[in-house]
Symmetry: C2
Subunit: 478 residues, 2 copies
């Protein structure tokens, strides 16, 4: 009964995907709305997912020599405006502090929308010689962008992220850094979040304000829309020149370093929800699940059941697996639906008969499959069971991506594909922004990126009919 | 020569302690000033110390069931103003966001100076039943308080901290939480930072705005001033009532929960600097040192020296100790002084003759003691050597605290003590704010706290001569 009630509370994803998404965010207790319009609260369960993401990703950053710093959250307006393209890109979304300590400030201070300007200002101050290069910095923090419409994790006035900022002696080294970090993000999505992605370069129209080149990874959600999951930017020496960041080079002359930045956000949690979730709620990849295994005693009032269940929990915990025993007095049905809603990868059921037979039932959240496992081999088997959940999720997501990625040679073809459920559409492209805009008008799609894995689909741009050498992937973006 | 230059750059701590402190903060590359007045940048080395503090303290919080969340950084003015005392306490220090997305906001939004209001607002929204209690929340973030004068780590317009916020069914449970967290902070200071502290309750004059009781730990710096190193507050149900946080109790009636909050900040790094530092720079307790051991090859151009040094670094690293080999072409003297400045607990020197004898020299940063250690037993001996640095630091700090803690029965005595180098002075106190204010006027000291470890010094208050049952510790506060 409780179970029915719970499920009824979530909208069917095939009926209203957007509402289903919001329902999952709230019923799984990931987020809650705050009193400030457009802002959200990351609740303990949602924040625990973010902590796992941070821990794993941060360790990856450090393996390649990156270090963390903390920059001030407020940026003086004059500093923000030194690089014209950046400020033009972000100005409409900035929140301004204009009063401090009961007094009106002489100059407005921007709540950081991104920190390129602060890093450059700092480097201009401390960089002296090529011996200090490269500087490979990162910070974990929140930023504000004053969005008009907001959605949990996907678009929020404040969001949590990491922003990497690096400077290098040569353009080549900075370009390699940009690509290396994009590869890191792609690996993270595939190996940790079980989300396959399309790696590529953004068109000039879609690139980051002020960047020379922006690279992105694009994932396909269950509604076949695209979610840009992380970006990596190469700036050349444009910001160095604007902010007067210089150093004495090997040849004893004054040089400008080459710069990159790269970021990923709590939006990744949105990607996880919409890639793996189902009508029973959240489905979490094991690597980031706050609880990887939940142990549910069946008929727990019977003698010995709770004790045995606690024993099993202890053994699993001792093996370094994140486990929880739900020994509350809620019904088994309620518990099943609760932990399904919260997306716990494996559920262990343990009743009096199981205990008699020295076994338990292990159910996979990703496909509902149940297996009977001997209690003596349970702890040993859990890692491979968790891995099979990860693999199962990845394969399903990859099927969704592959099955709904199309090739087209005509605009009308793109339009038809989008009208019939949509997905990613690959076409050739002449490279003109005009054709990009026209594709949007005619078929409703925007360019996601120019994939690194290029294919030759035809010889001409489907929009203008001109010569086309690049393949673009199009879609509807979150 | 390079060494002399480096040391000359730091002011002697006995000549100008404040300048010595700022010099260490900058020469050890912990912080740098930012373009925004009153704001600082935590540089990689400073941030790495903060990361170690966070990692260790966060694990302690979690052991007692606390979970992390993320609350919005902006608080609507109307929400902030619901609890009168709190807003009166913080209003003069608030930074206000008044414009967002090119438009003037209808209501000013405060950059959080502290988040009691946000937590209460959230709990009013999600709390329903006693079954959800206690809620034991914490968040790691930065806050802004618009201070007029600022100093690195000690007083800064933005600082990084953790703020714990909890609600409980009973007053007793909330009081226990308040005390438990104060004990946690005291243990952290002693066992991790090697800083002894005085635990006690703040007088009403010095307590947190809106709190029913505030507890603090007070540490003595090398200049004998007091540094309040962490605080823990008990609110009763005052905020619950102001923000209408209610739940259905065990007896099925509507109840207000009892609340606590507790916090510690990057100020702890300031405490470390001023407790352990010396005229050669920073001295770090091993538990939070980003580099615990530095390996310096001597005569590194000689055959086999660099290879052997690298071998030693690898062996130490494999044992889970944070180690760095400085193989740069700077002079040995420069390296000695550089890593002393950065406070690395142990320095290993390894030259051709050492290698011949299969040994090395290990120097302790805390007391300069050198010992010859066989290379075969080096890795095994390092943990106890690191422990002895910790113990040495703690003992020195404890001596400083004990030697400069005095008892007095007359105001004139307090004044004389403070004129002769100062420290902590314990006296009885009648409990009136009037006497507290007068003590400040007459002897220049403010009450630090009412220590848990009470002593009977006399029968009367040294200020008014009235009956006094409580002992207070006085000092000059940072």
């Amino acid at each position: 009964m409780a179970k029915d009630k719970k499920i009824k509370e979530i909208t069917d994803m095939d009926v209203d995907f957007a509402q289903w998404y919001t329902d999952v965010c709230r019923k799984a207790e990931l987020i809650e709305y705050a009193s400030v319009k457009g802002f959200t609260i990351l609740r303990p369960y949602g924040y625990a997912i973010w902590e796992n993401i941070q821990r794993i990703m941060d360790a990856e950053f450090k393996k390649t020599g990156h270090v963390n710093v903390a920059m001030p959250v407020l940026i003086p307006e004059s500093l923000l405006k030194k690089e014209g393209e950046l400020v033009n890109g972000f100005a409409p979304e900035v929140a301004w502090v204009t009063e401090g300590g009961s007094e009106k400030l002489e100059e407005r201070l921007a709540f950081r929308p991104t920190s390129e300007t602060m890093f450059c200002d700092h480097w201009a101050n401390v960089l002296q010689t090529y011996r200090q290069l490269p500087m490979l910095y990162n910070q974990w923090c929140s930023v504000i962008r004053w969005e008009k419409t907001t959605r949990p994790f996907l678009r929020s006035r404040e969001f949590w992220w990491q922003e990497g900022h690096t400077i290098h002696e040569t353009a080549e080294e900075a370009q390699r850094e940009t690509e290396q970090q994009l590869e890191l993000y792609a690996d993270f999505c595939e190996k940790i979040l079980a989300i396959p992605v399309v790696k590529g370069r953004k068109t000039d129209k879609e690139k980051f304000a002020g960047a020379e080149a922006t690279y992105s990874i694009e994932a396909m959600m269950k509604d076949r829309k695209a979610l840009q999951s992380a970006t990596s930017h190469y700036f050349g020496d444009k910001f160095s020149r604007a902010y007067n960041v210089t150093y004495t080079g090997r040849d004893n002359t004054l040089q400008y370093p080459y710069q990159t930045s790269w970021g990923s956000t709590t939006r990744l949690i949105g990607a996880v929800i919409m890639t793996h979730g189902d009508n029973n709620g959240l489905v979490l990849p094991p690597a980031i699940a706050p609880i990887q295994v939940v142990v549910l005693p069946i008929a727990q009032h019977k003698e010995g059941v709770l004790e045995k269940a606690q024993e099993v929990v202890n053994a699993i915990e001792a093996a370094g697996i994140r486990v929880k025993g739900d020994f509350s007095d809620n019904s088994a049905g309620w518990k099943f639906s609760e932990w399904e809603m919260k997306g716990v990868p494996l559920r262990i059921e343990l009743g009096p008969r199981d205990i008699e037979n020295n076994q338990c039932v292990v159910a996979r959240r990703d496909n509902g499959e149940k297996a009977t496992v001997g209690l003596d081999e349970l702890v040993e088997k859990l890692p491979e069971l968790l891995q099979s959940v990860h693999d199962g999720l990845y394969e399903k997501a990859l099927s969704n991506l592959n099955e709904h990625t199309y090739s087209a040679t005509e605009v009308s073809e793109v339009k038809t594909i989008m009208e019939n459920g949509g997905g990613f559409v690959k076409t050739m492209w002449c490279g003109s922004e005009e054709c990009e805009v026209k594709m949007k008008e005619l078929a409703g799609v925007s360019s996601r990126n120019i994939p690194f894995d290029q294919e030759h689909i035809s010889d001409t741009c489907p929009v203008c009919g001109g010569k086309a050498e690049k393949m673009v992937v199009w879609g509807i973006a979150y």
